[in-house]
Symmetry: C2
Subunit: 161 residues, 2 copies
Amino acid sequence: MTDHAHAFCCPDHSGAAPAEAILAQAEARARARGARLTPVRRRTLEILLEAHGALGAYDVLEKLAAEGYGTQPPVAYRALNFLVEHGLAHRIRRLNAFTACTHPGEDHRAAFLICAQCNSVTEATAPELSRALHAAARTAGFTIECSTIEALGRCSACTPA
Amino acid sequence: MTDHAHAFCCPDHSGAAPAEAILAQAEARARARGARLTPVRRRTLEILLEAHGALGAYDVLEKLAAEGYGTQPPVAYRALNFLVEHGLAHRIRRLNAFTACTHPGEDHRAAFLICAQCNSVTEATAPELSRALHAAARTAGFTIECSTIEALGRCSACTPA
DNA sequence: GCCTTGACTGTTATGATATAACAACAGATA
DNA sequence: TATCTGTTGTTATATCATAACAGTCAAGGC
Ligand SMILES: [Zn+2]
Ligand SMILES: [Zn+2]
Ligand SMILES: [Zn+2]
Ligand SMILES: [Zn+2]
């Protein structure tokens, strides 16, 4: 499990309310792009939303399998990749894991803040950051297609006051 | 092979000269930190420096093994992790690969520009970028310990004029 | 001198992550 | 109906990474 059991660690998951709103947004976004949020895909997104922190593909697979979906790795990877391609989830490379996008619909270039203590992953929208990266790339004559920004450290809940 | 054979693709490797300078810097830096740049470790760094683009651990292992060093994965991973820990190499997470640091000695937080066409990896020092990331984190009450910034796209050599 | 210690290198074995290739099916379309 | 496309599922395999243990060697204490 890439997950963890700690309570009240993830600011974004302190209430269950936003999950439904995010699912509705996701549904709308998928439809708008001509993509189908099929049962496995939707359930995969729900699983990510239910999780505190990011989940590994095999963690997701375990849950899907237990619910009667396919039992083999491609089932999870396909659903996860679909979600990532459509901006409904993000891949956290440092963790070899995935997390639901906390604000789908917006066209965002986010940075991920990974808490080394409670494993929570916070998605920080940072337009300035994106701008700085593009500027640095331009200086090198490099054209960015996509980027990954991840930081490891302590979240606010895990930082002693 | 994570490597590639394309000629004149990597601006940083167009001449062989800098490699020796970097090795000398690396040696100095290691000694200054009380670390030993042993034969395997040094050779591993050389292998990374000789490579265009980043190399996977098993690519490095293959070369080490061919030269009489150990033949098993831990040999490569240990040397690579040593180099990363001492700032002499970097891990490129998107590629599951490693690249030599092109300017060891400086205490830098770099961004990596990965060319999707020629596989070259350019290390861009970007103080503003680092500053923006720390600012974004601070807003979220997050304290950064270390960070990863990687961009995928086209390098200058692979961009049609 | 000789023994202990700690860092280093090598091994075997295993674990964790990810994809290729193929078969079956369902809804859309002509 | 026949066909096409996208989706799901499977088996098998590839790729990346680490745990645990054994042998080597040089430095420092006795
Ligand atoms: Zn997002
Ligand atoms: Zn935390
Ligand atoms: Zn560097
Ligand atoms: Zn290129």
